[in-house]
């Protein structure tokens, strides 16, 4: 039954990757990659249960952290054009 879950996860990961390749705007691509990362976390957990070694869950936890931080960093880069400044600083620079 874990094999069924793995197959379904792989199919939906393929669909998310198709949206990442097709996506008209950059936000579609970022969203599809975020979704792909969430499904990768689930896939790592299910694969650990499938192989009888649930220690893989540590990898899934770390991957969830990296996925979130990467998404936020990419979004901030595309919104601000810069990773080093906050919203208020960029706004005040725009006014000045």
């Amino acid at each position: 039954m874990f094999a069924v879950a793995t197959a379904g996860l792989l199919v939906s990961m393929t669909l998310a990757m198709a949206r990442a390749l097709l996506g008209p705007t950059v936000y579609d691509r970022v969203m599809a990659l975020n979704l792909f990362g969430t499904k990768t976390v689930l896939l790592i957990a299910v694969l650990g249960f499938l192989a009888g070694r649930p220690e893989f869950l540590d990898l899934a936890l770390v991957y969830a952290l990296i996925n979130f931080i990467g998404t936020i960093a990419v979004l901030k880069f595309f919104e601000m054009g810069d990773l080093g400044h906050g919203v208020s600083e960029v706004a005040s620079q725009g006014e000045a």
């Binding site: 069924v4 199919v11 705007t25 979704l35 499904k39 957990a45 869950l57 979004l75």
Partner: protein
């Protein structure tokens, strides 16, 4: 573990798988960034939550369940944040929301 936990675990995992596949199809077929975010959020909450709950039924009361609950709580906190940041960035980047079937909507 008895038959009851097995049945509960498979029901939760298959339900989560259903939500994940439906969310992926929605992400592929919805017309707009904001509507696609709705499908993606469904995958993050119902799909991942049900699947992790099903796996924790399978693991029993061990340290594995604690890790699964940690992953679940982390996804529960970070998925709305990234969805909000995405929609805010898309609005900031002048992506217009699609308007279909709004009668007399004006603008």
């Amino acid at each position: 573990m008895g038959v009851l936990t097995d049945v509960l675990s498979w029901a939760c995992i298959l339900g989560g798988l259903f939500f994940i596949v439906v969310g992926a199809v929605g992400v592929l077929r919805m017309p707009d960034v904001y509507t696609r975010l709705h499908a993606a959020g469904m995958t993050d909450t119902m799909g991942a939550g049900l699947m992790l709950i099903g796996m924790s039924f399978q693991a029993g009361l061990t340290l594995v369940t604690v890790r699964l609950l940690l992953i679940w709580g982390f996804l529960l906190f970070t998925s709305p944040i990234s969805t909000f940041a995405l929609s805010r960035a898309a609005l900031h980047g002048n992506v217009e929301p699609i308007r279909i079937g709004i009668e007399g909507g004006g603008s």
